[in-house]
Every structure is written in structure tokens, then in C-alpha cells.
């Protein structure tokens, strides 16, 4: 069964450094998402992306964050200058079409900011 894949599984970065989290969504999906989950807390929406642009974003997704689909298969989340509070699991998700359909999640990247 096709699945969303994320790399790396664990990323350790010094505070203030830039980090790029990578995702390969399911191949025939058109809608892409990033969520995060701080340890012990709920999964929180960050951003949705469709047709090469951001369609919706949360207040967490400030100017330090950006997303990109650099080619036909990858979807990336960049954090420009990481802060300690960016430490979390980051999940990528994708969905096939516009109607009510489930978003399918990858297994996440654990981001640890030192």
C-alpha cells in the first residue's frame, strides 16, 4: 500500500540553525500538509499546500517557516532559524482530492533543538 515517507527520522540541530524536513507524499495525491506534535500534546496543523501554493496556514506557521515542492515528488518544510520550542515531531500528510477524503500521514521526523 502506498505511503507517505519522511526523512530523516531524527534531526538534531543547534538553536539558530536552519533545518529542512523532507517528505515524499503518496504519488497521485494533490494536497499536502505539515503538522507537528510536541511531546505529550495534540497533533497541531501547520500548513496546507495545493497547486504549488499555500492554501491555509496556522498562527504557528510564522515567517520562520516555509514549504516547497521542488520537484514532482518531494515536499519540504524549512525552518530558517530554529528555536528551542521548535523541538517536536513533524508529520507530513497528503490527500488525493478536494472532496472529504482522509489525510494520510508519514511516520514523522523528530526534531531536537539544542
Amino acid at each position: 500500500e502506498p505511503e507517505v515517507t519522511q526523512t530523516p527520522s531524527h534531526q538534531v540541530t543547534q538553536m539558530g540553525q536552519e533545518v529542512i524536513l523532507r517528505c515524499v507524499p503518496i504519488s497521485n495525491h494533490l494536497y499536502f500538509y505539515w503538522y507537528r506534535q510536541i511531546l505529550g500534546q495534540k497533533v497541531e496543523f501547520l500548513v496546507s499546500f495545493y497547486n504549488n501554493e499555500i492554501s491555509e496556514k496556522s498562527e504557528i506557521f510564522d515567517d520562520q517557516f516555509s514549504v516547497e515542492r521542488p520537484d514532482g515528488s518531494n515536499f519540504t518544510l524549512k525552518i530558517r532559524s530554529t528555536k528551542l520550542e521548535d523541538s517536536a515531531m513533524y508529520f507530513c500528510a497528503s490527500k488525493r482530492g478536494v472532496s472529504n477524503q482522509p489525510q494520510h500521514f508519514g511516520d514523522g521526523t523528530r526534531l531536537s533543538i539544542l
Binding site: 510536541i38 495534540k42 497533533v43 491555509e56 496556522s58 500521514f105 511516520d107
Partner: protein, 112 residues
């Protein structure tokens, strides 16, 4: 923040018994609901979904019930197995939006 150290509701069920996990939502505009299962170190895994024009939907060993009057959703798992042990989240989305809003989650433990 208010969610720091969020305490998950827990449910322990004997293997082979049925379990019911409940979820309350607050947004009257929510029209699509999903149950996800999250095992340790993994991402949310889709289990079953339901649209707001339905009140019940069945899958393999799972049933979702939706009561829009009281904004309540439940997940029933029949004949539980050890592999059902996980955290279960309900998630909701409203028409025209892309953002999934997740509930707190319930930790289900199956006792062998």
C-alpha cells in the same frame, strides 16, 4: 501553554472484549470526521471516517458513530487484539477548510 503535560484519558480492555472510545467536538461547522490510531514512534494511521450526513459507518472490526446533536463521536472496536493497543485520536474538518483539528487522544491498552 495550557496543553503542556496533557494527561491522556486511558482505557484498559481485556483481549477479545469490545472497546468504545469517545470524542467530543465543539465546532458546529465540522462536517467530516476521522479516527486515527497512533502507535509509539509512528504517525497517525487512518482507521475510519464519517461524513456529517451519516450517523454510523462500519469497517472491519470498527464502527464509528456520530451524534451531531450533542457533538459526539465514538469509535467501537470489536474483539480487541493486542495490536489494537495505541493512542486513538478523533479529528474533524469543516467544509472548505484543509486543517484537521485533532482531539486530545485516548490511550487504549489491551490486556492479554
Amino acid at each position: 501553554g495550557e496543553n503542556v503535560g496533557l494527561h491522556l484519558p486511558t482505557l484498559s480492555v481485556q483481549e477479545g472484549d469490545n472497546s468504545i472510545i469517545n470524542c467530543a467536538y465543539s465546532n458546529s461547522a465540522s462536517d467530516y470526521f476521522i479516527w486515527y490510531k497512533q502507535e509509539s514512534g509512528k504517525g497517525p494511521q487512518f482507521i475510519i471516517d464519517i461524513r456529517s450526513n451519516m450517523d454510523k459507518r462500519q469497517g472491519q472490526r470498527v464502527t464509528v458513530l456520530l451524534n451531531k446533536t450533542v457533538k459526539h463521536l465514538s469509535l467501537q472496536i470489536a474483539a480487541t487484539q493486542p495490536g489494537d493497543s495505541a493512542v486513538y485520536f478523533c479529528a474533524e474538518i469543516s467544509f472548505g477548510n484543509e486543517k484537521l483539528t485533532f482531539g486530545t487522544g485516548t490511550r487504549l491498552t489491551i490486556i492479554p
